[in-house]
């Protein structure tokens, strides 16, 4: 949960990677007395590690997950991270469905940390990844962890807005939904959007310009860095492919990007549900069967439905959508959606 190979010094915070060291090394084959976090110790010759073969490890991990979930609000139905959340996966693997915790969960006052990033401190598991991003990738550190222990809180000092060019990468490194994209907030669920690999020539020399676009139809709802199989940002020429805020938050048109193809999604992920592997539409055979005649459609769904209105472009709103955004569809009169291509009579 906390180790990130692209961030120097990360790891050792969350203890979910505990392993049993059955033999320290060839020189000193004694077992280590306590479970070790596998992300921190150096590998030695002759080291013997017990992972899921050790009951002690499984038991300890279950306990760690239960502790991580003590203060986690479990608001997955609202959280934008749901579907690609590492804590969600982890708790499904280790955690029990019930909770033994009876006390009030830790809450924080809501804090605005800038126009692009939404901070939900209640969801934070204090993995420090975003702090390392701020330290190592952005020019100057703007936010950090204040207070200690249970009160520890991620904040920008004196509520300074994060305005660094690479601050958006914190969203990508956050394993939970504590830091999410404000321009994507509540727009759609992750698994209903279609991820495609795309690139653009970014003016920023430090930005790799390679990203994953999350589309609905032809609208770019969200831009993230490309992730590898471990959920980390992909590397290009041994350099992690961080993307700049311009690419992430401002380039929300398909015209800004050259699309390479659909992103490969693990078949165990909910994101891959109901997705096609290719971008090309399969050839329509109905017209051929009907000897060149278009099928007569009895109803154009856009004339009736208020969902996915072709006249509303949610991707162009740089804040969460509100009711009035959908009510503006009053401009969308019944005739506007109809077109002769559907072979429908004008109402």
């Amino acid at each position: 949960m906390c180790y990130y190979s692209k961030l120097e010094g990360s790891g050792g915070k969350c203890r979910t990677c505990l392993v049993e060291v059955a033999a320290g090394s060839t020189a000193d084959p004694r077992p280590m007395p306590k479970l070790m976090a596998s992300c921190r110790p150096t590998v030695m010759d002759g080291m013997v590690i017990k992972n899921i073969t050790s009951d002690k490890v499984i038991d300890a991990r279950n306990g760690v997950v239960e502790f991580l979930l003590i203060n986690h609000p479990l608001d997955c139905p609202i959280c934008d991270q749901a579907g690609e959340c590492h804590l969600q996966d982890l708790s499904y693997d280790h955690g029990k469905a019930g909770t033994r915790y009876e006390f009030k969960r830790r809450t924080f006052e809501k804090e605005d940390i800038g126009p692009f990033i939404q901070l939900h401190m209640t969801r934070c598991i204090l993995c420090y990844r975003c702090v390392y991003v701020a330290d190592q990738i952005t020019d100057k550190r703007m936010h950090g962890i204040l207070d200690r222990g249970d009160h520890a809180d991620i904040s920008t000092y004196i509520s300074k807005a994060i305005d660094n060019d690479f601050s958006g990468n914190m969203i990508d490194v956050c394993p939970v939904g504590a830091l999410t994209d404000k321009t994507f907030r509540f727009k759609n669920r992750v698994w209903f959007t279609k991820p495609v690999d795309a690139h653009r020539n970014c003016e920023n020399p430090k930005c790799c310009g390679k990203a994953t676009l999350w589309l609905r139809g032809d609208e770019v709802y969200r831009v993230t860095a490309r992730k590898d199989q471990w959920g980390e940002v992909q590397s290009y020429d041994n350099k992690p492919g961080w993307i700049c805020n311009t690419c992430r938050f401002d380039k929300k048109k398909t015209g800004d990007w050259s699309i390479e193809g659909p992103t490969t999604i693990s078949r165990h992920s909910v994101i891959g549900a109901n997705k096609y592997k290719t971008l090309e539409m399969p050839a329509d055979t109905i017209k051929k069967v009907l000897h060149g005649r278009d099928p007569k459609l009895l109803m154009n769904i856009h004339n009736v439905s208020g969902v996915n209105n072709p006249n509303i472009h949610l991707s162009e709103i740089d804040r969460p959508s509100h009711m009035e955004d959908f009510e503006r569809s009053g401009e969308f009169v019944k005739g506007a959606g109809e077109s002769t291509q559907w072979g429908l009579p004008k109402e």
Binding site: D75, C76, P77, I78, A82, R185, F186, K187, N188, R189, W191, F192, V270, A273, N274, L298, M299, I301, N303, V304, S305, G306, V307, N308, L314, P320, S321, H322, M323, D325, F326
Partner: protein
């Protein structure tokens, strides 16, 4: 060939005698069966004047639930839509604004929520998937209609009446099953 069941009956192809050739006995036997049904209990009812009670697991039209204060339970989490095998459910989420706390229970809500009853197969998976107690299948049928567009059910049709403002309608919408649960 071995018979599949032991109910096999060979057809009687013997030559019929005079009485059998008259068919009168056979006709009389058949009429006796017919007339005996007059005195038996009727298996049908006079629908729609009379209706049968619904099974406790009947899955009818969907209803979007509200909490005791009348706030909408649905947070547009999309689990019903992803669980739906017929892809009948679609929705658009929106953020709750300050001042709308009495309308929506959570920070996020469904601005648009539609169920295409032409697609719906009434399997009840949406009901099972819902983590927020928001969607239920009621004890009503989808009424017949002449136009397809009437079958796109929107939030206005799906939402349960307000429990405080329209108490009578709310109680009616709860149906028989909910009343039993209250005890």
């Amino acid at each position: 060939m071995q018979a599949l069941t032991n109910r096999l009956k060979p057809v009687d192809r013997r030559k019929m005698n005079f009485l059998e050739r008259l068919y009168l006995v056979a006709i009389f036997k058949g009429m006796l069966i017919t007339f005996s049904h007059i005195f038996k209990k009727k298996p049908t009812i006079n629908y729609p004047e009379k209706t049968r009670p619904f099974s406790p697991v009947f899955r009818g039209l969907h209803i979007l639930n509200r909490d005791e204060e009348g706030r909408e339970n649905c947070t547009a989490c999309g689990l019903c839509a992803v669980a739906c095998p017929a892809e009948a459910i679609t929705m658009e989420a929106a953020e709750r604004q300050p001042g709308e706390e009495n309308l929506y229970r959570e920070e996020k809500y469904a601005a648009k929520y539609e169920i295409n009853m032409l697609r719906c197969i009434f399997c009840g998976l949406c009901e099972e998937a819902c983590p927020k107690d928001a969607i239920y299948m009621s004890e009503t049928f989808a009424p017949a209609d002449y136009q397809r567009k009437q079958f796109i059910y929107k939030k206005e049709e799906l939402l349960i009446p307000h429990p405080l403002k329209e108490t009578a309608a709310y109680e009616k919408a709860l149906g028989n099953r909910a009343k039993k649960k209250v005890n």
